[in-house]
Symmetry: C2
Subunit: 349 residues, 2 copies
DNA sequence: CGAGCTAACTGAATCGATCCAGACAGCGAA
DNA sequence: TTCGCTGTCTGGATCGATTCAGTTAGCTCG
């Protein structure tokens, strides 16, 4: 005898003797009906256990789902453990949530030729990081807004920090002190997975992505100005920004004999720099006397330790907010470049 | 002249001279039509740019959205930076994704009396962590499946690790060596925010939540067996599992005079233990000679450092997988207790 | 008084699929 | 020949809302 199926707006309308349009207005457009009737409708709804208009039906009718999808280049496992990606997500969530939208999380790693499940009903897409392939983005609904972060998609707005300037600035700072053997540790330089040293001729060729190219350009300009030959500066590549992947690449560098080991390592992420810092300390190297280190990102972990990491702080939360605002149309969509802040710590004073 | 609006299944059917039912079957039930016709339909769809059935319409008709919502007790910012929550999410995502479902992320912190946006169309809910209030869960659709993790919801299945046994085991291990002044650092003991020492009479009273009660019970049993009076063991409370919040509570403990300072700290999370470890090292205390420390969780950060943290490893990824499997109905829904593993490191050998 | 206007409410079309109940053809068996 | 069966395909009701184009009542104003 209890209600066999869920209450619908139509049931409620019949119960009250008004039209469905009026009930709909009671929930969505209070100005379209008298306050008295509205109260009566909402009261009756509560009494009968009607939870408000069904989201599925509404989304079909209006064409909007109030869902924004974030597509992460890396696997979720990786991204969720990455401080920078996490910050971005918080920024996105903060804005979405203030606007009554919700966040759908996808990883490009698991996307096949078809969008999984309900991903295609998102009202907009935020793509973050170096996508394995652009073709993947073609499965997305073409008319939905899309914003790229730390990545470029032709014809779509993208959000970056000013990587070139940031890298130039931090490298210039680092090179103020006499440096014999600078080195660079980069991230995901090549299309194919490859951990370890990179030959000079491979470098810029493979760096098709804006972000990597910009960073190298910044480093090279500073190196050049300081009288170093950029092409002669050794460079190592790391495939994944985690301790476990960084460590085996960094250990051999630190284990080089004193007269071969770099005395300055420019790292493109704090995670890399912190790994190097920890491993160097384990080996009894003095920081910064024997080895100076710089990072990139400005994550908390690098700032709340001794020695504090010299790095460039980028506001990933703000990047996330910005992307979300654009997607929601609160801000006109336009590519933009956020500025960064040089944080001088003890790892490279 | 280009198509004014998106192609629909009906357009495609008209174009091909078949019924909409047949086109629908071509996409969803290959066995319901001849392979030849199916090929023709899919080919034509590709040619005309039809991307497959609209997810919004499908979800209205079928009643299922292929979306599973995860509701996190803490803010997204916090949860995304917490290694344990991140692991849980990866586990959930792994299973969802293999089953063609997607993950909607919600934080209880931002949930009002109404579910935001599209949250109500999820096919199921996974709630994680100590919810600020149970009433919040009443806004969820009652007929949708729900699984609680590290938390209990009356009448619903929940997933926990065997907290009592784990805490008993690690405390027993720690108390094998002579200990003069053990102490306990706990997490979110009280309903109201409160950082710092907890008076003995406040303790179990306020620990309404299963997880906290179980852990304390385990500790107390081991303390009792080792000849300590549990009620006399000092305890501190911490509101948020982050370095920034932990540090100000822990510093005064470490700054106590030698004959007052605990020589063993049982911490309910690795984050707390690691914070204590770092701060203790800063102060020149010897680990484990001057201070022994135990954690809980077994996060990577505690295992890839020197001294390595003594802790209890819980498999949060597996918790996530399990919750997801139950929600999807791959596993019958039933409360369960996962086992843990004692990891003996250098912080408390 | 009657035209004009506004506020309040209604009826029905519509969004784009799914899926049941059947129609029809072809075929083998009785 | 007739019956039943299987394999294909179709028509149309349905999911639960939103929204447009009215209709009606009541009020104002010249």
């Amino acid at each position: 005898m209890s209600t066999p199926r869920r209450m619908t707006l139509k049931d409620l309308a019949r119960e009250l003797g008004v039209s469905t349009a009026t009930v709909s207005n009671a929930f969505n457009r209070p100005d379209q009906l008298s306050p008295a009737l509205r109260e009566r409708i909402l009261g009756e709804a509560r009494r009968l256990g009607y939870r408000g208009p069904d989201a599925k039906a509404r989304s079909l009718r209006t064409g909007r789902s109030r869902i924004i999808a974030v597509i992460l280049a890396e696997s979720l496992t990786y991204s969720l453990n990455d401080a920078v990606a996490s910050e971005l997500l918080s920024g996105v969530a903060e804005v979405l949530d203030a606007q009554g939208h919700t966040l759908l999380l996808l990883s490009a790693r698991q996307m096949q030729s078809e969008l999984p499940g309900a991903a295609s009903m998102a009202d907009g897409y935020i793509v973050y990081g170096l996508m394995p392939s652009q073709s993947l983005l073609e499965t997305l609904p073409t008319q939905a807004p899309l914003v790229a972060v730390d990545f470029d998609v032709t014809g779509r707005p993208s959000i970056h920090v000013d990587d070139e300037h940031a890298c130039y600035t931090i490298a210039r700072h680092a090179l103020r002190r006499a440096t014999r053997r600078p080195g660079i540790i980069n991230l995901r330089l090549t299309a194919e997975a490859c951990n370890g040293p990179i030959a000079p001729d491979q470098r810029l060729l493979s760096a098709e992505q804006t972000i990597t190219r910009s960073r190298l350009t910044g480093f090279y300009r500073a190196l050049d100005e300081a009288g170093h030959d950029p092409a002669a500066v050794p460079m190592w590549n790391i495939e994944e920004n985690t301790f476990e992947v960084c460590a085996p690449v960094i250990e051999p560098i630190l284990d080089l004999p004193d007269d071969k080991r770099p005395d300055l390592l420019l790292c493109v992420s704090d995670r890399i720099a912190l790994t190097a810092l920890t491993l160097a300390e384990d080996r009894g190297l003095r920081i910064p006397e024997d080895l100076r280190l710089t990072g990139f990102d400005g994550i908390a972990e690098g700032q709340y330790r001794a020695p504090r990491l010299t790095t460039v702080r980028q506001d990933s939360v703000e990047k996330g907010r910005m992307a979300a605002r654009m997607i929601l149309g609160l801000t006109p969509p336009a590519s933009s470049l956020l500025s960064t802040e040089l944080l001088i710590g003890d790892s490279c004073p």
